[in-house]
Amino acid sequence: MNKRVARIGIYVFLFSAALFFLLPLYVMLVTSLKSMDEIRAGSIFALPLAATLEPWRQAWSEVCTGAACEGVRAGFWNSVAITVPSTILPILLGAVNGYALSFWRPRGASLLFGLLMAGAFIPVQVMIYPLVRLLAAMGVFGSLPAIVLVHLIFGMPVMTMLFRNYYAGVPHELFQAARIDGGGFWRIFAQVMLPMSAPIIVVAAIMQVTGVWNDYILGLVFAGRDNLPMTVQLNNVINTTTGTRLYNVNMAATILTALVPLAIYFLSGRWFVRGIAAGAVKG
């Protein structure tokens, strides 16, 4: 009997916690489906009386994101253009780093890794100004390569750690067998280690895609006017000071922006948790 009461208690708590976290999403969803008249008239919790997709259409292709009024569409494609290389490159480089640190153990490997990890704990904001100067001196500031390079740099500690820890679990004898078979640095990486890294590549991709997609400050500073990511454009949509606030359009634009990470969370929750665990255990 006691056990049952405890169980009911747990469920009550879980449901109320879920409700608490889902409520904002619910409000966003219903508001985005209402017309402005209906929003002004009713409660924010009420279901739409005459549901309309018009705000979504406006958010996607008509709303003003600063001077241009073409919706968040352009921002979406900018974000895709930033995220794809900013996911593939850090994963490849992190995998090579982790592989080299785990198997080839260069002189001072642990010191190198320690320094890299220390980099992960320095706030991004501290490094922005030096990076701006550096990229300006290189002549790439405010461009797609600049923002990809910045994501590559900031992704490196975590990507390296993920792969290093993953390869630490691979028997060293496998590497030795490949050495005896005549494999060199790149061949063992490409033909033996990388093909067996699928689980950790998925984890790394999830972390990197969500991280890059959700980034605001780096995109704002480094991407340049033509490549502003969706998060920056969303901010422009919502912070326009002229005219009435189009709550329904704002909500729709916000959901559109959050859609990619949201989809990744839903489709790969199991993997995502595993990635967090992989980063948490072992140093």
């Binding site: 496998l174 050495r179 078979d181 061949r187 033909q191």
Partner: protein, 350 residues
């Protein structure tokens, strides 16, 4: 086929000298077993021959050529690991041919070699499977096959049977011996299992704490151990040790246990440790020594009887089915021709 020659070899790992001034000659076509407890440096030695560990001093020669600074793949060796170390994403066929493909051998030659190894190891049916779909025994066969296709002159085995269950281990042990008889190549085999060492080796190297204790044929090492460590390490149950006195007439005494040894053993009076194998103690009525039955362990085809004699406890292997009651008195004899004598301080054979 080649011989392997180690000269004054030193290996330092993480600041510790694991192997010091080790000399060893492995003859061409020999099955040499490195035997010792874990941590004795036998695996380290094997890895250094493979070129997977750097040596700090001394030389390794394979087939008369100095191997210092030569890549593992260029040493003419094939190696089999304890954990099999198969490439998990490749099929059995790709696993075996990986090294040959790297070496850039023609396709026909690769197919010939893989086919030959597969038929020797009964792997033809499994060529398209991945390691995850194989049993432990099959995996180790593939690992052996991967070493075979290299057609190396020296094969190195690092405890290849340790991860298998007892039945499979015995089966693969026989296969390895047959393989050696068929190939006649030089094989160096690391194990801590004395049965593997005794059954496979043409010569055994017993190691302890980085030093060679004794090198010899299995019967040499078993019958004439160089010291108490070797004597105690080989044989199950272990050799019985009895501390006592040896007098000038070659008579050994330790309380109630007295034994007249060969005249050749006679010398000055001194303290000594007598070593007796359990199979060299006979329990028979009217024998000279008296004791009581302490414990009986039936082993199916034989039984081990533990005899209490004064303060000593001796194990004896009895091949028949006589029954012994614990506490009952018995008479026993020790085969004086086949005992060993050791110095109690150094542990060396006298």
């Amino acid at each position: 086929m080649s011989n392997v020659h180690l000269r004054k070899l030193c290996i330092t790992l993480g600041g510790n000298q694991v192997i010091r001034d080790l000399d060893l000659e492995v003859k061409e076509g020999e099955f040499l077993v490195l035997l010792g407890p874990s941590g004795c440096g036998k695996s380290t030695l094997l890895h250094s021959i493979a070129g997977l560990i750097d040596t700090s001093a001394g030389a390794i020669e394979i087939g008369g050529k100095d191997m210092s600074g030569i890549d593992p793949s260029e040493r003419g060796i094939g190696m089999v690991f304890q954990s099999y170390a198969l490439y998990p994403t490749m099929t059995v066929e790709k696993n075996m041919s990986f090294g040959l493909r790297i070496a850039g051998l023609p396709k026909a030659e690769i197919a010939r070699r893989v086919g030959r190894a597969a038929s020797m190891l009964h792997l033809q049916e499994l060529l398209q499977r991945k390691p995850g779909q194989l049993s432990g025994g099959q995996r180790q066969r593939v690992a052996i096959g991967r070493a075979l296709v290299r057609e190396a002159s020296v094969f190195l085995f690092d405890e290849p049977l340790s991860n298998l269950d007892a039945k499979l281990r015995a089966e693969l042990r026989r296969e390895l011996k047959l393989l050696h008889q068929a190939l006649r190549s030089t094989m160096i085999y690391v194990t801590h299992d004395q049965v593997e060492a005794m059954t496979l080796a043409t010569r055994i190297v017993v190691m302890r704490a980085g030093e060679v204790q004794q090198v010899g044929t299995p019967s040499d090492v078993y019958e004439r151990p160089a010291n108490m460590f070797v004597a105690g390490f080989l044989g199950a149950p272990a050799m019985n040790f009895v501390s006592g006195e040896l007098d000038a007439q070659g008579r050994f005494g330790a309380g109630p246990l007295a034994l007249q040894l060969d005249a050749a053993r006679a010398g000055a009076q001194r303290a000594a440790v007598l070593g007796v194998r359990p199979e060299h103690i006979r329990i028979e009525a009217g024998a000279a020594l008296a004791g009581t039955v302490a414990l009986v362990e039936p082993m199916g085809n034989h039984q081990i009887v533990w005899i209490a004699c004064g303060e000593h406890l001796l194990s004896s292997i009895v091949q028949d089915t006589r029954s012994f009651a614990p506490g009952a008195p018995l008479a026993f004899a020790i085969d004086a021709q086949r005992v060993s004598l050791f110095d109690p301080d150094s542990g060396r054979a006298l």
